[in-house]
Symmetry: C2
Subunit: 199 residues, 2 copies
């Protein structure tokens, strides 16, 4: 039954990957260790050789979810270097992202859950959120670093909030409108920032 050290490490990584998806789909309290481990192709008994607790896995899975998010932002930005913010905003505020609960932004799926978790999960969120802000800042063309961070925070808040609102309602038209209104607002905020930066 024992596997090689390399295989064990690979299994551990698989558990984190699977958890990062299933936690986002069902919430931290919406899925148990048995289902998580089985989705990773293992049994529940193997869990505690790999992780200290469910909370420990939650923190690591959150970190992994942010890594995936950052990678997607980078890819979108690189594919559209003339307007990276427009590309990320279009991706974030798409109906595709609204429906893709398992591989979408961790703040949207688990931000409110994270607020109720221990300091480890919150630390993962804080680190991931800071990375998002660091990416957004340079795209805003403000000369002043502080004003740029303020704009980045407002833009991230708008995108996160709109996607949550979009997911929380039944009506598809309303759902779509939240995303469109947010995209319009993000555009105006960034145009405003670029204008100020040129003064």
């Amino acid at each position: 039954m024992r596997v090689s050290r390399a295989q064990a490490e690979e299994n551990r990584q698989t558990v984190i990957d699977v958890a990062s998806r299933l936690f986002r789909e069902h919430g931290f309290d919406g899925i148990g260790l048995k289902d998580l481990m089985e989705a990773a192709g293992l049994t529940q008994g193997a869990f505690y050789k790999q992780f200290a607790s469910k909370d420990d896995l939650a923190a690591q899975a959150s970190e992994r979810a942010f890594e995936s998010g950052i990678r997607r932002w980078s890819a979108a930005a690189e594919a559209n270097p003339k307007d990276p913010l427009g590309a990320v905003s279009a991706l974030f505020l798409s109906m595709g992202h609204r429906e893709e609960t398992g591989d979408g932004c961790p703040v949207v799926a688990l931000g409110a859950d994270a607020a109720r978790q221990g300091p480890d999960v919150k630390a993962s969120f804080e680190a991931g959120i800071r990375k998002y802000l660091e990416m957004l800042g340079p795209w805003l063309g403000e000369s002043d670093g502080e004003a740029s961070t303020d704009k980045a925070m407002a833009i991230l808040s708008t995108m996160v909030g709109a996607t949550i609102l979009s997911r929380a309602v039944n009506n598809k038209r309303l759902s779509k409108r939240f995303l469109q209104a947010a995209a319009k607002s993000v555009k105006e905020l960034s145009a405003d920032a670029a204008q100020k930066g040129q003064l």
Copy 2:
């Protein structure tokens, strides 16, 4: 053991009130019927004479939470009739609201959870969210109704997202900055709207 019909109805209302608070504090999956009923001064056995299921209570408790939210918005707006949006924005984006998880905005506390619930909970959310938008619209002074709704959606998104981000991180400074950045952005968005309305 039986109580009067009036008392039974009062008990039912108490359960909904208690649930609207405890669901917001712990999430729909973070608290059980036993604890909810005991917090309302009853035993678990009485639950199913009052509600069809936990999901049924979740939908009614969500509705109740929005009623409370609307009442607070109205009170803030009436206390500051010259700048109702400024008053609501200041209240929403305060550290008090950030910490007041049990009596705060239901979208912030349970929006992501609601996305994973059945159509009844989502219907409660949709109705509550539409009420919020109806309140915000007239404060924006746009001549065009559609543009006004867009702005209202963007402002609500910004406030909801910022509060979630503010709650999800450990660092208090960062927490506060999200709220401040969002307040600044809401102010600019509404000033922008007022300007356009006067053209």
